[in-house]
Symmetry: C2
Subunit: 160 residues, 2 copies
């Protein structure tokens, strides 16, 4: 039985990208070459929460993929021939459509606006959280990618 | 003005850890040595979504920190002397208390139960999402840690 509890998320701002519809989006944020500079706009009342963000080269952005289709627990990806579980993919049609991107942080263009690269979401996507990226806990360069290994976009920074 | 839109998250399962209260939790999942094996229990109706998860060595878990204090936009961390914005920290008292851990995945102990290491949350924390960790998009071993640099827990795998 699914637990009946639920939790309410509220946007903290809005993501701006060049992609107007889900069809336009790249497969992931590292695919475009060069990756376009996108922006994260934070609501004015939350700007104090950005104090000391300068100095981090990378951030983790969490966002609500509000234009994702209805959740699907299993599906066959377009570049694959087997049925995969949605939790073994990064597909947007998840039970909780929370997207996650590790982005390069290029600094502030205004006190409420961050310049970032490596987003892959639709323009106007509601932002839920900004976290500093910490290589000490977040970087696993040797992680094995299971069924996705032959399909992954290579990381141009590490060559992985 | 904060956007009035809101979104509803529902747990997909429950995390089990050795820590019964927020006070008991380690500073992060890499701090305990050795890190205890924790578990992620998925609700029965969502188990098909786990298909093909075996083979990934690491996962990203998102969870709702339901015992976090009320959000605080700025604060002085216990190991610091300056005021920091909450978005420049991994503190739990965020506008949307969504926690994120990159965990080592040690396989299934039952069809609905994953063994994982590197969690740092309270026992019983509601799980929101499981994503495969992809070094191609998620690993930035050289990321700069800004103000947190002198305080970070070292990563025993990479020496960073």
């Amino acid at each position: 039985m699914t637990d009946p509890a639920s939790f309410t998320c509220r946007p903290i701002g809005t993501l701006h990208t060049p992609w107007k519809t889900p069809r336009d989006c790249p497969r992931n944020g590292r695919q475009p070459d060069p990756p376009p500079v996108c922006s994260a706009h934070i609501f004015a009342d939350l700007v104090p929460g950005l104090t000391s963000l300068e100095g981090f080269s990378h951030l983790i952005l969490l966002y609500w993929m509000d234009r994702a289709p209805q959740p699907l627990l299993t599906f066959t990806p377009p570049f694959d021939q087997e049925v995969r579980g949605v939790f073994a993919t990064r597909a947007p049609f998840r039970p909780n459509p929370i997207g996650l991107s590790v982005v390069a942080f290029d600094g502030f263009t205004a006190p409420d606006t961050l310049a970032v690269r490596y987003l892959d979401c639709v323009d106007g996507t509601p932002l839920l959280d900004i976290k500093p990226y910490l290589p000490s806990t977040d970087s696993e360069p040797s992680a094995r990618m299971g069924w996705l290994d032959p399909h992954a976009t290579r990381n141009r920074n590490t060559g992985l």
